[in-house]
Amino acid sequence: MRATAADRAASSANPYLICAVAWAIPGAGHLWQGRIQKGLIFLITLPLMFLFGLWLEGRLFPFEATQPLVALAAFADIGVGVPYLIAKAMGAGAGRVVAITYEYGNAFLIVAGLLNMLVVLDAFDIAQGRK
Protein backbone atom coordinates (compact mmCIF):
# COMPACT_ATOMS: atom_id res chain seq x y z
CA MET A 1 0.00 0.00 0.00
CA ARG A 2 1.42 3.40 -0.99
CA ALA A 3 1.91 5.98 1.74
CA THR A 4 -0.81 8.63 1.71
CA ALA A 5 -0.27 12.31 2.45
CA ALA A 6 -1.50 11.66 6.00
CA ASP A 7 1.01 8.84 6.35
CA ARG A 8 3.86 11.04 5.15
CA ALA A 9 2.83 13.79 7.56
CA ALA A 10 2.73 11.28 10.41
CA SER A 11 6.11 9.94 9.36
CA SER A 12 7.66 13.31 10.04
CA ALA A 13 7.48 12.39 13.73
CA ASN A 14 10.60 11.00 15.35
CA PRO A 15 10.81 7.30 14.33
CA TYR A 16 12.35 6.37 17.66
CA LEU A 17 9.50 8.00 19.56
CA ILE A 18 7.08 6.06 17.36
CA CYS A 19 8.97 2.87 18.24
CA ALA A 20 8.75 3.64 21.96
CA VAL A 21 5.00 4.24 21.71
CA ALA A 22 4.56 1.14 19.52
CA TRP A 23 6.40 -0.96 22.12
CA ALA A 24 4.44 0.46 25.07
CA ILE A 25 1.00 0.02 23.52
CA PRO A 26 0.80 -2.72 20.87
CA GLY A 27 -0.53 -1.20 17.63
CA ALA A 28 -0.15 2.41 18.76
CA GLY A 29 2.70 3.04 16.32
CA HIS A 30 0.49 2.02 13.40
CA LEU A 31 -2.49 4.00 14.72
CA TRP A 32 -0.27 7.10 15.07
CA GLN A 33 0.81 6.77 11.44
CA GLY A 34 -2.70 6.38 10.09
CA ARG A 35 -2.68 2.59 9.64
CA ILE A 36 -5.91 2.26 11.59
CA GLN A 37 -6.91 -1.26 10.53
CA LYS A 38 -3.51 -2.76 11.30
CA GLY A 39 -3.20 -0.82 14.54
CA LEU A 40 -6.59 -1.96 15.83
CA ILE A 41 -5.82 -5.60 15.00
CA PHE A 42 -2.52 -5.44 16.90
CA LEU A 43 -4.13 -3.50 19.76
CA ILE A 44 -6.68 -6.27 20.25
CA THR A 45 -4.71 -9.39 19.33
CA LEU A 46 -1.42 -8.96 21.19
CA PRO A 47 -2.75 -7.99 24.64
CA LEU A 48 -5.37 -10.74 24.27
CA MET A 49 -2.64 -13.28 23.53
CA PHE A 50 -0.68 -12.01 26.54
CA LEU A 51 -3.79 -12.28 28.77
CA PHE A 52 -4.34 -15.80 27.49
CA GLY A 53 -0.80 -16.67 28.56
CA LEU A 54 -1.47 -15.35 32.06
CA TRP A 55 -4.77 -17.25 32.22
CA LEU A 56 -2.92 -20.44 31.25
CA GLU A 57 -0.69 -19.90 34.32
CA GLY A 58 2.43 -19.05 32.37
CA ARG A 59 5.31 -17.26 34.05
CA LEU A 60 6.74 -13.79 33.49
CA PHE A 61 10.40 -14.69 33.78
CA PRO A 62 12.83 -12.56 35.82
CA PHE A 63 16.05 -11.16 34.39
CA GLU A 64 18.69 -13.56 35.67
CA ALA A 65 22.14 -13.11 34.16
CA THR A 66 23.23 -16.48 35.52
CA GLN A 67 20.52 -18.23 33.47
CA PRO A 68 20.79 -17.00 29.87
CA LEU A 69 17.66 -18.81 28.62
CA VAL A 70 15.57 -17.35 31.45
CA ALA A 71 16.97 -13.90 30.68
CA LEU A 72 16.06 -14.33 27.00
CA ALA A 73 12.53 -15.36 27.96
CA ALA A 74 12.30 -12.30 30.22
CA PHE A 75 13.46 -10.10 27.31
CA ALA A 76 10.76 -11.62 25.10
CA ASP A 77 8.10 -11.19 27.81
CA ILE A 78 8.80 -7.48 28.22
CA GLY A 79 8.40 -7.00 24.47
CA VAL A 80 4.65 -6.65 24.86
CA GLY A 81 5.07 -3.33 26.70
CA VAL A 82 2.59 -1.84 29.15
CA PRO A 83 0.52 -5.03 29.56
CA TYR A 84 3.69 -6.64 30.95
CA LEU A 85 4.23 -3.77 33.40
CA ILE A 86 0.58 -3.89 34.53
CA ALA A 87 0.75 -7.65 35.04
CA LYS A 88 3.95 -7.32 37.05
CA ALA A 89 2.47 -4.51 39.15
CA MET A 90 -0.59 -6.65 39.89
CA GLY A 91 1.55 -9.64 40.87
CA ALA A 92 0.30 -11.71 37.95
CA GLY A 93 2.51 -14.06 35.97
CA ALA A 94 3.97 -15.96 38.90
CA GLY A 95 3.46 -19.15 36.92
CA ARG A 96 2.44 -22.50 38.40
CA VAL A 97 4.91 -25.04 37.13
CA VAL A 98 2.69 -28.03 37.96
CA ALA A 99 -0.22 -26.64 35.93
CA ILE A 100 -0.85 -28.69 32.80
CA THR A 101 -1.02 -25.49 30.76
CA TYR A 102 2.19 -23.94 32.21
CA GLU A 103 4.35 -24.41 29.10
CA TYR A 104 1.51 -23.28 26.83
CA GLY A 105 1.13 -20.17 28.97
CA ASN A 106 4.85 -19.45 28.64
CA ALA A 107 4.64 -19.88 24.86
CA PHE A 108 1.71 -17.43 24.64
CA LEU A 109 3.48 -14.84 26.85
CA ILE A 110 6.83 -15.09 25.08
CA VAL A 111 5.42 -15.10 21.55
CA ALA A 112 3.12 -12.15 22.31
CA GLY A 113 6.22 -10.15 23.26
CA LEU A 114 8.20 -11.29 20.23
CA LEU A 115 5.34 -10.52 17.85
CA ASN A 116 5.06 -7.02 19.31
CA MET A 117 8.77 -6.54 18.60
CA LEU A 118 8.05 -7.36 14.94
CA VAL A 119 5.17 -4.87 15.04
CA VAL A 120 7.54 -2.21 16.42
CA LEU A 121 10.00 -2.87 13.57
CA ASP A 122 7.15 -2.56 11.06
CA ALA A 123 6.11 0.76 12.61
CA PHE A 124 9.74 1.90 12.33
CA ASP A 125 9.84 0.96 8.64
CA ILE A 126 6.65 2.94 8.02
CA ALA A 127 8.09 5.93 9.88
CA GLN A 128 11.23 5.71 7.72
CA GLY A 129 9.08 5.72 4.57
CA ARG A 130 10.10 2.21 3.53
CA LYS A 131 6.49 0.98 3.46
Binding site: F42, T45, L48, F52, T101, Y104, F108, A112, D122
Partner: protein, 57 residues
Protein backbone atom coordinates in the same frame (compact mmCIF):
# COMPACT_ATOMS: atom_id res chain seq x y z
CA UNK B 1 -9.07 -25.29 28.61
CA UNK B 2 -6.53 -28.10 28.78
CA UNK B 3 -6.88 -29.60 25.33
CA UNK B 4 -3.49 -29.63 23.61
CA UNK B 5 -5.15 -29.43 20.19
CA UNK B 6 -7.44 -26.59 21.25
CA UNK B 7 -4.54 -24.57 22.63
CA UNK B 8 -2.50 -25.19 19.50
CA UNK B 9 -5.41 -23.96 17.36
CA UNK B 10 -5.78 -20.78 19.45
CA UNK B 11 -2.02 -20.17 19.33
CA UNK B 12 -1.99 -20.69 15.55
CA UNK B 13 -4.92 -18.30 15.21
CA UNK B 14 -3.17 -15.48 17.09
CA UNK B 15 0.12 -15.90 15.21
CA UNK B 16 -1.62 -16.15 11.82
CA UNK B 17 -3.60 -12.97 12.43
CA UNK B 18 -0.52 -10.96 13.39
CA UNK B 19 1.69 -12.30 10.57
CA UNK B 20 -1.00 -11.80 7.93
CA UNK B 21 -1.67 -8.25 9.15
CA UNK B 22 2.04 -7.45 9.11
CA UNK B 23 2.80 -8.95 5.72
CA UNK B 24 -0.17 -7.78 3.63
CA UNK B 25 -1.87 -4.40 3.30
CA UNK B 26 -5.23 -5.19 1.71
CA UNK B 27 -7.88 -6.87 3.91
CA UNK B 28 -8.67 -9.53 1.29
CA UNK B 29 -4.98 -10.45 0.94
CA UNK B 30 -4.63 -10.49 4.72
CA UNK B 31 -7.56 -12.88 5.00
CA UNK B 32 -6.16 -15.22 2.35
CA UNK B 33 -2.65 -15.26 3.81
CA UNK B 34 -4.02 -15.62 7.35
CA UNK B 35 -6.13 -18.61 6.31
CA UNK B 36 -3.16 -20.23 4.57
CA UNK B 37 -0.87 -19.65 7.55
CA UNK B 38 -3.48 -20.95 9.97
CA UNK B 39 -4.06 -24.10 7.91
CA UNK B 40 -0.30 -24.60 7.61
CA UNK B 41 0.31 -24.21 11.35
CA UNK B 42 -2.53 -26.52 12.38
CA UNK B 43 -1.88 -29.05 9.60
CA UNK B 44 1.86 -29.03 10.34
CA UNK B 45 1.18 -29.53 14.05
CA UNK B 46 -1.12 -32.48 13.43
CA UNK B 47 1.34 -34.00 10.92
CA UNK B 48 4.26 -33.60 13.33
CA UNK B 49 2.13 -35.21 16.06
CA UNK B 50 1.43 -38.24 13.85
CA UNK B 51 5.08 -38.55 12.80
CA UNK B 52 6.22 -38.45 16.44
CA UNK B 53 3.52 -40.85 17.63
CA UNK B 54 5.55 -44.09 17.11
CA UNK B 55 8.49 -42.79 19.13
CA UNK B 56 8.69 -44.55 22.50
CA UNK B 57 9.99 -41.50 24.39
Amino acid sequence: MTSHFGLMVIFALFVSIVFATLMRDEPREQLLLGARLFAGFVGGGVLAGWLLYPLPF
